[in-house]
Amino acid sequence: MNSDISKLGVDVKWQDLTLGCTIVGRGTSASFNTGEWRVDTPKFIEEKCKQCMLCIPACPDSAIPVEDGKRLDFDFDHCKGCGICEKACPFDAIIMMKGVK
């Protein structure tokens, strides 16, 4: 009964697939660099940020890390550049850079 997810990838052989394609393990999406899909990129302007945190739940990809109650810069491995955070920010602390990877 194969549950080893380490060989999963688009070149996996059928013998190495997990049983029923199950994924035994947690947080596996973290290793998927969806940030590569980005065509527009948000810029975080820290001095304007009031740490109101409204952008955090607005992000569909959980790409805004928070540490010790403080919002940090974007997680660009997972930010897809959708721009929702820019709309959520009441203080112009996020600006979308069009066409910037």
Binding site: D11, V12, K13, L17, G20, V24
Partner: protein, 393 residues
């Protein structure tokens, strides 16, 4: 000590379920399988089992609940018939591809339409390509015995696939017949505990079932799933051997009745096989070398073994209790002919559609099939190779 009893097919299956004592049973009643959850809920109410019975609002929900509970790590069982199985169709495929060893007691009944409550195999045959293991029974004894063996096959680590235990609606499900039961503790130790390696509710582990597979994965996923079914063949034989040791009753992929020297043979599934054996006996009294091959395991299909068993047969009738509308043959006809072709055997073959919607199958009607074979043998002309038995025309 074996227990001599007389039970209907539905009671027999319900007794096996009680002895297995599964963890969860989601079910929605439908004729002629209604009695199975009915008997079983009385076992639940009486405290004879500690199964969680889940009354659901449809068969689609029943199978969906089965998938949820089996993935959660619980041994799960259900029962249905006909349109109930058809409504499960979408999720039957999911249960198999998620590799969840659910057990389903199927009481074969015609699919609508015209709407009808009686036996044929259109329900099971409609689900033959969903990835489930399918076992068929001739009588109540076999329905019971197959149910006792089901989880051992389905849950085997080399298999991990759902299993359908089929019997003929009304003909066996509602007929009281003699049966020999095993004692509760014998069944319990034979079936054993279900201890999956991974499951949703496993402490300290995370697991995702049914993730989306992009094009790169689907071929490989299907190939791996097919391997599970292939493996089920050997496992079914191994389990049957162990079962024979506790019961004295032997099972294989199929049963050969007077096939050693058979010149004329009939391949058949289900309750009509018993009637076919009586037919063969009568013909043999007249000096006609008739034999019967009764299929027990239909999925996976033991093609090579069946072809081998038929290697000396010159005239063959294949009996399909369903119409699959390919207009040339039924599903069993197609499978057997493919098996014979691949193994380079070429008997004269007639394929019959019979017994739809409970159309009675008698020694007389099956004798007429053998007579058709003899006529074809004499004239060396098969004529129409796909025929209807006992149809008014």
């Amino acid at each position: 000590m074996a227990i001599r009893d007389r039970l209907s097919g539905n009671e027999a299956v319900a007794v096996a379920m009680r002895q297995i004592n599964p963890d969860v049973m989601p079910a929605y009643p439908i004729t002629p399988s209604t009695e199975i959850p009915q008997y079983f809920t009385s076992f639940v109410a009486n405290g004879q089992v500690d199964t969680e019975f889940v009354p659901v609002e449809s068969e689609h929900s029943a199978m969906s609940a089965c998938i949820g509970s089996e993935a959660a790590g619980a041994r799960t069982i259900t029962a249905t018939s006909s349109c109930g199985l058809a409504l499960m169709w979408e999720v039957l495929n999911v249960a198999a591809s998620d590799r969840l060893p659910i057990c389903l007691a199927l009481v074969n009944r015609a699919l609508s339409g015209p709407i009808n409550i009686n036996c044929d195999h259109s329900d099971a045959m409609g689900a033959r390509d969903t990835g489930w293991i399918q076992l068929f029974a001739e009588n109540n004894q076999e329905a019971y015995d197959n149910m006792v063996q089901a989880y051992r096959i389905a849950e085997h680590p080399d298999v991990m696939l759902p299993i359908m235990v089929c019997q003929d609606g009304f003909i066996t499900s509602h007929a009281v017949e003699n049966i020999t039961l095993l004692e509760d503790d014998v069944v319990k130790s034979f079936v054993g505990e279900y201890n999956p390696e991974h499951y949703l509710l496993k402490d300290g582990e995370s697991i995702a079932y049914g993730p989306y597979a992009v094009t790169n994965y689907v071929m490989e996923a299907r190939r791996a799933q097919m391997q599970g079914l292939r493996n089920a063949k050997q496992v079914a034989l191994d389990v049957a051997k162990e079962f024979a040791a506790i019961s004295g009753r032997e099972y294989g992929f199929f049963e050969e009745y007077k096939m050693e020297d058979a010149e004329y043979a009939m391949v058949i599934i289900g309750s009509a096989a018993g009637t076919a054996k009586d037919t063969a006996d009568q013909l043999r009294e007249q000096g006609i070398r008739a034999g019967v091959l009764k299929i027990r395991l239909f999925r996976p299909f033991p093609a090579e073994e069946i072809a081998h068993a038929l290697r000396n047969v010159r005239y063959l009738a294949i009996m399909d209790r369903t119409e699959d509308f390919n207009t040339n043959c039924g599903p069993l006809g197609a499978e057997i002919k493919a098996a014979l072709f691949n193994n380079n055997y070429h008997p004269l073959t007639l394929n019959y559609c019979y017994g739809l919607g409970g159309r009675d199958v008698t020694v007389e009607s099956l004798t007429s099939v053998f007579h058709d074979l003899m006529e074809a043998a004499e004239t060396k002309d098969a004529g129409e190779t796909y025929r209807y038995l006992s149809v008014r025309e």
